[in-house]
Symmetry: D3
Subunit: 250 residues, 6 copies
């Protein structure tokens, strides 16, 4: 199985984090290739940045989807996920989606725990888009600044563990979802210091991608995720324009 | 009052339609200037196209917001609305938002009536984003093809009236929202053939923009629409990059 | 444009407050006339009092609606709004409705801030009636007594500002709605001491009334706000009886 | 046990219907006295009429509540119920509330079946006020005119049975609530022609009143139904004014 | 009227508590007989135990239902209620259902107050099953251990009163439901120390059973609680097997 | 990986169907062992039967869980799932849960399609328990009888395909979930005759079990699925009693 992990952030360091967590969970026969957004911000934390990152994800998919069995949009908040799912034929998994749906099998309500206040509004919209609000016990965010987006998980490890424990004790969460590409790989390290299951979203995403590949669903020709009809466009990335126009591209 | 009406579609013909409807409803002292998306598709009807159009709206705002008292994102579905609202200090009104909220003052539940099946999925997500699902009696779409996006309202006028009447009779709608830039200006023409109030979204948007300007709200420094902190980016439109970085641009 | 502002409370002092706030926001060509309830309590704060005030609003409308282009029910809680909307042909705007819908264009969730505990239950029912609960971050009320209903906004100004700030910090409100006729006009004064947009309901109501007049919607002949068929009654206000019976009255 | 059944409609014929159904279900030691609204319409079917009827119910309660152990507001839609419950110390049961809550013990979702289209909007608001929408399979109304409000149940018996059967077959209702004072007593007659339990609201209301009397709950001194503080009023019914002012009245 | 009160717990001491509370509230002509689960745990507090207790309730009903006019499943959480209701022809009342629905007539939102943390998850699912979440202000549980399940109401009386008062003050509950068979009979004792109505579930259940018997509803032959078609089984209690197979049993 | 697939129905033929579908989707290193309920009915279709089947699932788990890395409760409706999840330390996957959550990654809303009317009520409660109602476009059931539970998928294949197509066309489903153990394995056969992705629940369940095993979550010591404290019981299956009492069993 060939899985394309798309990091809609521009930070290569995050891509490395994501790749390590995803490959660590992948099955023997699974290859995980990675792509990093060529435009945008090092780390998406707002609606505006998600718009930029989501469009980059579409462009990367337009260029490379034909070589893969499935793809992962690897930023919490799932930028561009719905658009990607309607436009391409391979299964597309969102990293937050995978984390939340996996959490649903481990308890009634999950808490989302992350490292920065700025992420709250966009994460909340993501939970709502997936219509999982009644499964979400809350979103907990650290309120301090951090030094480096690629090292924030080491820098804040014990604060994040405390925050997760508060989510369990005060919000009555049954499961903790560690959210955001910068926290990829952290769940395994803190597993024994939090009294409920902790989900690593990058790991969950690769397992869900494998599951969808194995189930081999056909692509939709009806319903709200059917591929839209061909349409001409101007001024957009040539591979994406070709895909929207139902034209070949190479 | 100076209002910037942004058409996130690339069709100048639609900009003309929107401008006419907006100016027709504007108060004496209101100037409505228009901008048309330089990239994308003639008419947004999918999630992917909304992503492209939403980003264009941000870029246009980044270039021109300082000359206006308020702006309108003038495509049903409100592409980029949340992002625009967090990034800029002037009031930003979504055309579907304005249509739906105005409809709320004219009855309990509104029906959204539009001219093409392709628009359904994206419109449904828009209603959910605004959390107005319990006020929405349904979305009704014509299922036939049309010749020209700029002339579709003339071509389909009687079919749209029939559809609106079915929404009233079968979905128990109290109000009809005629949705989509191509239908701007239609409400006044069909007013007497539909037994409930009919809302023109472009007209509603300009009135709501005027209302917000008059109320003169401060811009948010807290809450989920506060302006995000300064951040560097790469490869994006220079005016937008400057805005995201809290740098002046001219 | 001629707008009738109906104060369902018996306090003339409140009518003066409401008139000043409404006229301050009205457009150049708008005339705002006022009516004060001849029966009931100086200030509505309970379900029982809202029943009395709502009926007074209907009676005033029955007497005077023909001279106006729109009317405002100017008590938070919108007493009699649904009844008024089904019974009369002109647009009727509720003051709380206008405040809340306007707030929806300034952020995701609004807090309702008011000056007395007694108002909570009735306000909560009002939010539910409008089906805006998912847009409401909470209702915050002062718990102290006050000296005079017409001077409460001066007396409690700094406490109300503190309360609004708590709603922003603790309830994660994006917008503050200052609720209740006695707070009309306060928003402009406290604007700079609250870090999110603050909505003045009387001002919002007059802008929404103007918007509806400009849009010129037809009155409903179908749907749940169609005018009910003619019916005889006994013992009620003659103008209201005439309106219910579809009889002229002068 | 002494129960006061208040008919907020002015039709004495309906009071007789209600009294017969209520007394037929009452326990041996229960006395059911009746009161008919002195003002308003023969049969409440709109929001406006419910406002009038609700206020009458308060006035009747203000005059007579001290002689009773509980009271029933005997119109579907429960006009004035919340106001009555906050203002008086005895248990107050709404006829629609009693019908719906009783139905909840007989199945998952109930259908409301009634005899006139005009009743739909007001009934729908009533279901929402009680927050029982997820238990309500739908509201079904006959669409024909009828000769006499007091004889409508005989005139339309077979049509109502057909309508109830459609609610079961098409809306998947588990229980049928026959709604409206004019249908009091009908459930027993049609019981064998509808394949699910059928609830008579007047009968249910008297049983619920008896249940509340037996349980002997204290009246609320806290919460959203605590009795409001004393307040002066002008121009309203003297018994109601006295009750609102915490003054004795006789 | 003959009512069978089924205690799905194995503790006879609890059966005695339940019987006393139920008989204390029963009308003159009502006989309350009791049955205690022969298998399971002394007191159900988890989903697993509810499964065992629910099955016992079905077996007891299969053996004895023909001698009764109605039955009560007398454990908070209503184990087996839906199954019992679909399988037997007599009205079946759940003790938590009766408590919650009765509470709905005494205020807007009720708090559930109980004596042990372990009960929370199962109670929460019960509230959701009845779709009464929007009427539930919260579930409050003591967090200390107790000596004896049959004496816990005496041991914890003052702590439970404190907890109920906190539910009123902090969760804005209008009514308190004292939950769990071990608290049967407590409401009357603490009535004057809690400022809102307090519901005794065992007492409420017997009143609701009497109400349903008096209303004499037919059993469902359609809808989601119709009796399932005959089916053979293996290895289950012979009376239950007979009932499922539509075979007589004696 | 060792997975225990528990068929809570007594039909060995269904176990064979389930085993074949699960093994067909399992990864190379996964062993799927099966267990069939020793008591109950050949095929669970009601709430009562689910109670029996759920208890059997707990007993089988109590006997065998120590030899497995994860278990599947392999009946649509997930009988006993919550109880199993709180009682045992290994991941437990419900077959309907797995089908529905997997469907969530393939579209916005799924339709549940099954072969018998009798299953509707129980399936609906299952969707609600998982709080996935807003993701469920509807439940569609054939209304004809069938000859054999183990052959129903061959007998009804074309009718089920028609039903799935109606769910897509009329209910606007984006994905079809073929529900019920008797339909295990059918999805692959009908894949090309339905225009949206079709999910096989048995296959989905084995993939989700593998995903959870790979993610290696700790078992909960807090939250609503923590293992309950030790408790004595009487009269229940010895392995289950031992598990509930925290006693070893072999």
């Amino acid at each position: 199985m060939r899985v394309l992990l798309i990091n809609p952030n521009t930070s290569e360091g995050l891509t490395d984090r994501l790749a390590a967590a995803a490959r660590g969970a992948a099955a023997a026969g699974t290859t995980v290739d990675c792509a990093t957004a060529p435009r945008g911000v090092p780390y998406i934390s707002t609606r505006s940045e998600a718009l930029v990152g989501g469009l980059c994800a579409l462009e990367i998919l337009a260029e490379r989807h034909q070589d893969y069995d499935a793809a992962i949009v690897a930023a919490f908040g799932d930028p561009g996920l719905g658009a990607a799912r309607e436009l391409f034929d391979i299964p597309i998994v969102g990293m937050s989606e995978a984390g939340m749906l996996t959490a649903c099998m481990l308890g009634g309500r999950f808490a989302i725990v992350t490292f920065a206040q700025a992420l709250g509004p966009w994460y909340r919209e993501c939970v709502a888009w997936h219509r999982l609000e009644s499964r979400c016990a809350g979103i907990r965010m650290l309120d301090s600044t951090f030094r480096s987006i690629t090292e924030v998980q080491e820098e804040k490890e014990s604060l994040l563990v405390d925050l997760a424990n508060r989510a369990v004790a005060e919000d009555e969460a049954d499961v903790v979802v560690l959210a955001g590409a910068p926290l990829a790989g952290l769940a395994a390290k803190v597993r024994d210091r939090i009294p409920v299951p902790v989900v690593d979203c990058a790991a969950a995403a690769v397992k869900q991608a494998e599951a969808l590949i194995a189930l081999n669903p056909r692509s939709a020709e009806a319903g709200s995720f059917r591929r839209p009809g061909a349409k001409e466009s101007i001024g957009i990335h040539p591979a994406l324009a070709a895909r929207i126009a139902h034209r070949p591209w190479s």
